[in-house]
Every structure is written in C-alpha cells, then in structure tokens.
C-alpha cells in the first residue's frame, strides 16, 4: 500500500455546506493506505498548498488525494504542488466533490456518503498511479505551407517574418491561386492583382521562403516538430536556372488549349505561364498537350529559346525534407454545375459562372476588361445574377452558404453598371447576407446608387430564346411572377472543397467534414489548429470565407507555427499508450483503431529455450499518441495500456466506487 495523504477542501461553504467534512476526514483516515487526512478551507490557497507540501514531508506521503473542485479546474495547480514537495506530479489524484457532489446534491447525508465514495475511489486509483515523465522532443525549425494562394502566401510571409524557413508548395506553375483570377475586391473595389502581386513578389524575393511550384505533397510522415514530407515537383521541361522568363516560347508554341486560369474563355499554349504576372514567371510545358510529347515532333520552343532552357528530358523530382509544422492552405473549387440543367449553363454561351464573369471584368482577361457577350461580342444590357446556385441546397448541392456570393454579386452589379452604361443588373436572391465591415453599405450602394434590381426569388429556369435568355422566377415579396428577357446570366455557383482534399487529409491524418473541408480542432477556440498537433489551416480549405478572413486566418496560423517553432523542444503528453510486449499477440487490432497512426509493428527477438525467435508486436510512438485509449479496448489480451488511465487504475476505481 502506498502512503497516501487525503486533503479535503471546504471551498469556503461551497463544499462544506453540503458535505460533512469532519465525517469525510474520519472516513478517509480508515481508507486503505491512508496515513494522513486533513481539511482546509481553501486548499488551492497558498496556505492550503503549503499544508500539502508539509504533510508530504512530515508523513513521507507517496500519493496525494485532493478532494475539492473538478480536476479540470485545479489538477495542474496541485500537480505542481506535489512536484514542489518532491513527488512525481502524476502521484496526485483529485476527487471532484464540488461540481459533481456538493453543487448538485442537496441532502447533506447522502452527499457526504457520495463524497466519501469519491474520495475512496481517488485513493484506490492513486495507489496504482505510477510516476510519469514528459519526454522532450526536438523541433525541426522549418515550416511547410501547402497551397500558394493568398492564404498560403500570407502564412509563408508571416512565418518568414518571424525568422523561420518556409517551403511553399503550389500545384500550378505559379502561385497566386484564386485571388489572382479576381478583378476587383469587395467592399473597397481594390484591384485584386494590385494588392496580391506585391505579396507574390515578396514571397519570391524572401530569403526564407522557397517556392516549389508545379509540385504536390506526396507523402507525410512523423509528428509535430518532426514531420517528414516528400514533395513531388512535376517535370516542368524548363530549366528554371536558365530560363529568363522572356516568353518567346509561349508566342511561338503552335499548340493552343483552353486556359485553366481563364476558365476556357481563351486559349493558352502548351508551354505557358498561367497569367502574365506569374511567380515564378517561368513557363512549364503541359506534356499532355505538347506536340513533342504527344506526337514526337515540333521542338519549336527549344529552337526559339535564347537561353537554351528547354529540357524535354526532365523528370519528376521527389524531395524529402523535415518540417516542424505544416500549414494547409489548399483553397476551394467553384462548384461544377452538372446538376443544374435548368440554368442552361453550357447550353447557351451567355450563361456564365461568377468566376467566368470575373475574368470578363479583368483588364488582363479574355476581353481586356470589357463585358461582352460570348455569343456575339456585344455588351449586354440586362444581366440576371442568380444567387445560391448549388448553395443552401440540400437536395442536390451544398446545404451550406458559400458566404461570398452576396458580396461579389453586389460588386458585379456595380462593376456592370460602371462598365456598361445603361446596363441593368437583376439579382435573384433567397436572402442577402452581408455581415462584415462596410459590407452592408456596399450592398446598399448596388441598388441605391447603381440601380440594381434585387428580386427575392430563386430562378426556376433559364430558357435560351434565340439571342436572348428568358428567366422565369417569382418575386416572393410582391407575389408577382417574373419573366425577364436578359442578355446574360451569371450563376453564383457554390464553393466546394478542392477535389483531392480528402486524399490530402488522409496523407496528413487530419479530418474533413462531410463536404471535404478540413476540420479545425475546435470551431470556436481552436479555429486554425487541426486535431493533429503541428498542422494548421488557413483559408477556404477549412470552409468558405472571403479574402479578409482568409488573410486573418493565415496570419493566425503563422503565429501558431512561429510559437511552435520558437520553442526549444516540445514536452510530450506522458499519458500515452504503452505496450506490454509479453502479452502482445501482434494482431495489430490496436493499430486499426488508432486515429493518429501512432502504432506500428515492431519485430521482437526473444529467447525461447536455446533458440532466438522473432515475433511481431505493437509499438507506440509517444510523440504521436494523444492518449485516447481506443487501442486499449481493441486489444483483447489487454496488452496495450494507457498510462494515467490504466486498466488496473480504472478497475480499482470501479471496485472502490461500488463499495
């Protein structure tokens, strides 16, 4: 039996009014192993803590039970107290006789009985407590940012600003992301490129940041402070060292394909940069379309390149690096409209998505910034903007609100009026949502100043009618049916998670919600962390949001990264799983239920008689294990145990609590 001391707290009258403390102390003195029991008005006070330290010394206590408020309140306080007196902090147990006893029961007799039972339970557990030690883990002072949109750019810049080295991985040949595709930004109508490109250049010029464009994360291993990540850089077929970015190759390349950046509204070449301000401003050859790679002839780019930078023999490059922290900033995809035949998208050239319309507005876009109907190249007069296409639609789209459409549509309406004199925007909405600084005012301007007509009514169908488009709806407010002839329809299609988000989540062992947006660790209090320590989120990969929110989250993630990388070492949580190799069968049932990939197979060599035999057993990576204990139940022989909540401890608690 361990020499146990019990300290029962009055908590003023909080406990003492409902629990007979004298009786409890007397009962505690009779519990197995208890050599000292006493009471205190406020055990958490300095006097109370000193009483504990003093008793540990004079009574040579080996275990300490404090019967007081919830362990969620003061467990750490009292762990420090016992540690100060030379005991292992995990020799402390708390009996929660306030929140779970005196505060919820009225009858003093039964409450006292229960308090005694809880103390008895804590004493029984404490007797089986073992010394636990947090181990120190080194930290790799380098961060990885996945995704080179505004979120990734901001996060990378802020981490670098804090003095840490950052690798920025971008799937496309250039960083910039969705924001680079936008024309102006609400509610200030700043030009998107004007505020984004300086940041892109800053990233390129930063000594701390390395851009890996045209690259993707292949494999992630390890844990907080010690991730090992393999990045695949796709063969660009252009020697980045030699290329000067003159662009001659792009002018001469004979192959034209739909530009992804301009959503197919114009063509790009097979050797290309996505857009003129690309960073790095060096092209890549799209091998799927390049004539040399598809037909085995051409090599025009090689001939015209003055720097001799074209290299058709390049291969994908795999690079493995260690990182202390990872920021995921992979952005979103605009919703595909396959389910929405009623809007005639794809059936009539003048039905556009918002992002396509955005490209029409943009000075470097396909029309040089003029709003022209794709069908006839003439400016439209009446334009219908349809909101919530695939959003707030649990039947065949996303049940959630895409958050940005109300505001960018107000912007589109304003820009339409500015660019096309006499044009008239009609906005079909379900609700207009404009929470945000200066947002409501901006929306107000769209109809007050610019004369946009807002109609509360989801468009039921768009009928192509010769040159025109007929839009059928109802104005739900007046009850009037709406039949509108327009020249252009703009669909505010919903925000989807990136295709491939699920796969990336699996690589990173982070979770996603039902719509493949990455889950934050807590929706309110840990909005940029994930459940996997050391991995943080920024931007729309976590859920729809606008640019200011994205940037704020990116900076927040960067601070979290900097705080992590700034530490000398990490202290691991000592209440982790532990394998008793003697009992372990090696069937790895534990591995199957471990959410952290903390369990692996290990080959054990042991002597059996004169022979050495090898057998498989489970092994726990203490840095990865978070201490949930799911493995302990999956393990039929009870070979894997959870320190701090061992089978022995919980069984002892059960036995004691039922007495």
């Amino acid at each position: 039996m361990r020499r146990t001391g019990v300290f029962i707290c009055w908590c003023g009258s909080n406990i003492a009014a409902t629990v007979d403390i004298d009786l409890a102390v007397a009962a505690a003195k009779k519990m197995p192993g208890v050599v000292f029991a006493d009471q205190n008005k406020y055990t958490c006070s300095e006097i109370g803590q000193e009483m504990i330290r003093e008793a540990i010394r004079t009574h040579r206590l080996e275990r300490v039970v404090v019967a007081a408020c919830s362990p969620r309140m003061h467990e750490n306080t009292f762990r420090k107290t016992v540690a100060a007196a030379g005991l292992n902090p995990y020799f402390l147990e708390i009996a929660n006789i306030r929140e779970q006893c005196s505060w919820v029961h009225k009858d003093k007799e039964t409450a006292t009985d229960k308090a005694i039972a809880l103390i008895r339970t804590a004493v029984a557990k404490a007797a089986r407590n073992e010394a636990l030690f947090a181990s120190e883990l080194p930290i790799e002072r380098r961060a990885l940012v996945i995704g080179g949109g505004i979120a990734g750019i901001q996060a990378a810049l802020d981490i670098a600003e804090n003095g840490f080295v950052v690798d920025l991985v971008e799937k496309e040949p250039s960083i910039g992301g969705r924001m680079a595709q936008l024309d102006k930004t609400f509610p200030t109508l700043d030009c998107s490129a004007c505020i984004l490109t300086p940041k892109m250049v800053e990233v390129a010029q930063s000594e701390k940041i390395t851009i890996f464009s045209y690259a993707e994360v292949e494999k992630v291993e390890g844990y907080v402070g010690n991730f090992t990540v393999t990045v695949r850089s796709r063969a660009r077929s252009v020697d980045m060292g030699k290329c000067t970015g003159c662009g001659d190759c792009m002018l001469k390349c004979p192959v034209k394909v739909d530009s992804e950046f301009d959503l197919g509204l114009i063509k790009r070449r097979a050797i290309y940069t996505p857009f003129p301000q690309a960073v790095p401003n060096k092209p890549a050859i799209d091998r799927e379309n390049c004539r040399w790679f598809t037909a085995g002839k051409c090599r025009v780019c090689e001939k015209v390149c003055p720097a001799g930078a074209i290299d058709y023999s390049q291969e994908d490059e795999l690079r493995t690096e260690k990182y202390g922290a990872i920021v995921v900033a992979t952005g979103f995809d605009p919703k595909k409209l396959d389910n929405y035949g009623e809007y005639a998208y794809g059936k009539h050239p003048d039905v556009l998505t918002s992002l396509e319309f955005e490209r029409l507005l943009n000075a470097s876009g396909p029309t040089g910034g003029k709003i022209l109907r794709p069908s006839n190249g003439r400016p439209p007069k009446n334009v219908a903007f349809i909101q919530c296409v695939g959003s707030r639609d649990k039947a065949k789209g996303n049940p959630y609100c895409a958050k940005v459409c109300c505001m960018y549509t107000a912007k589109h309406a304003i820009l339409l009026c500015e660019k096309v004199p006499g044009a008239r925007p009609f906005v079909f909405y379900i609700d207009v949502r404009t929470p945000g600084k200066d947002y409501e005012e901006f929306y107000n301007r769209a109809y007050e100043e610019f004369g946009a007509t807002y109609i509360k009514g989801n468009v039921s169908k768009v009928f192509p009618d010769g040159e025109k488009l007929l839009v059928r709806s109802v104005d739900a407010l007046s009850g009037a049916l709406v039949e509108l002839e327009v020249d252009m329809v703009v669909l505010a299609n919903s925000v989807d998670a990136r295709a491939g988000a699920k796969e990336l989540a699996q690589k990173l062992s982070i979770t996603t919600n039902a719509y493949n947006f990455f889950n934050e660790a807590h929706p309110k209090l840990r909005p940029v962390e994930t459940h996997t320590a050391g991995i943080f989120l920024a931007g729309t990969c976590q859920g729809p949001k606008d640019i200011p929110e994205t940037v704020a989250q990116a900076s927040a993630a960067a601070v979290k990264v900097a705080a992590l990388l700034g530490k000398d070492s990490l202290l691991s949580n000592p209440t982790v799983a532990e394998v008793n190799e003697k009992l372990c069968t090696g069937d790895m049932s534990c591995l199957a239920v471990c959410p952290y990939g903390a369990i692996s197979e290990k080959m054990l060599e042991e002597r059996r008689g004169r022979e050495t035999v090898r057998r498989k057993v489970a092994e726990v990576n203490m840095a990865l294990c978070q201490g949930c204990g799911a493995c302990t139940v999956a393990c039929r022989p009870g070979a894997i145990n959870l320190k701090g909540f061992t089978n022995e401890q919980i069984m002892a608690e059960v036995e004691a609590i039922c007495l």
Binding site: E99, H105, C628, V633
Partner: protein, 143 residues
C-alpha cells in the same frame, strides 16, 4: 421480483469522457442542476477508453445501472473514439438484452461540455428508471 422497492436507492456508475461529458457534469455543477447522489462518475479520457470489462465489473460489484457518456458523434476530441464506442456498446447492449439482463440498466449517451442541463436530466431519468427496475441481482456477485 417480490422485493420491496420502498427505500431502494440504486447505485449508478457513470463513465464520462474527459472532454465532453465530464465537462458537462462539471457544468451541471456550476449551474446547480441537481440530480440524485446515486450517480458516481469515473473520469476516462474518451468513451472509446471504456472497456466492456469495466462495465461488467461495475455490475458485479453492485452497480444497479451503468452509463457511458461521450462526445456527440463527430465531436470526439480524438476524432473517432466515440464511433468505436458506439459500435462496441451497440453490440454489448444487444447481448445483455439477449441474455436476459435488463438493457435499461446499461445506457450510452452523448453529452457535450455545454449540456450541463442534459447531464442532470439524463442522471435523473436514469436513476428513476433503475429505481423502478429494482436492484441488479442478475450480474451481481455473491460478496
């Protein structure tokens, strides 16, 4: 059973996960949502940590009702512990029922850290139901 149930006070053992249900129990305390003192809580990190063996042992040693309380599905602090618990205890509960042991004595509930009122309501309900069932004699050992 012909036992007089007058004055029978059941013992309820509740395994509460540290992150949701134990916090819910604490919240019941801070907001003074009373429930019978028959309920005694054992803190575990996660509902996925609760071994069916603990539950049987509680019944053996005289618990008249056992509750496992965890985070709501989707809210597990450890991603998936409560999902595993849900499978395990679905099986266990059906088995107890099949063996003729009143399934009402064994309950699994999802109680979040913000559901202090729910915690106390569940405890009231459980105590009342078990009180009606009378003492657990079927799994209890001889001691």
């Amino acid at each position: 059973m012909p036992v007089t149930r007058e004055g029978f006070e059941p013992l309820i053992v509740a395994f509460c996960c540290n992150w949701c249900s134990y916090a819910g129990a604490d919240l019941a305390g801070t907001s003074r949502q009373t429930y019978p003192s028959n309920v005694r809580v054992i803190r575990v990190p996660c509902s996925g940590r609760v071994n069916p063996g603990f539950i049987i042992r509680a019944f053996q040693r005289g618990a008249d009702g056992v509750l496992v309380a965890g985070c709501h599905p989707g809210d597990c602090h450890y991603h998936s512990g409560n999902y595993h618990a849900r499978r395990r205890f679905t099986i266990l509960k059906q088995m107890l029922d099949y063996l003729g042991i009143e399934p009402e004595r064994f309950q699994v509930r999802w109680i979040s850290g913000s559901e202090g009122a729910k915690f106390s309501a569940v405890m009231n309900e459980l105590t009342e139901n078990v009180r009606k069932l009378g003492p657990n004699r079927k799994l209890r050992d001889a001691r």
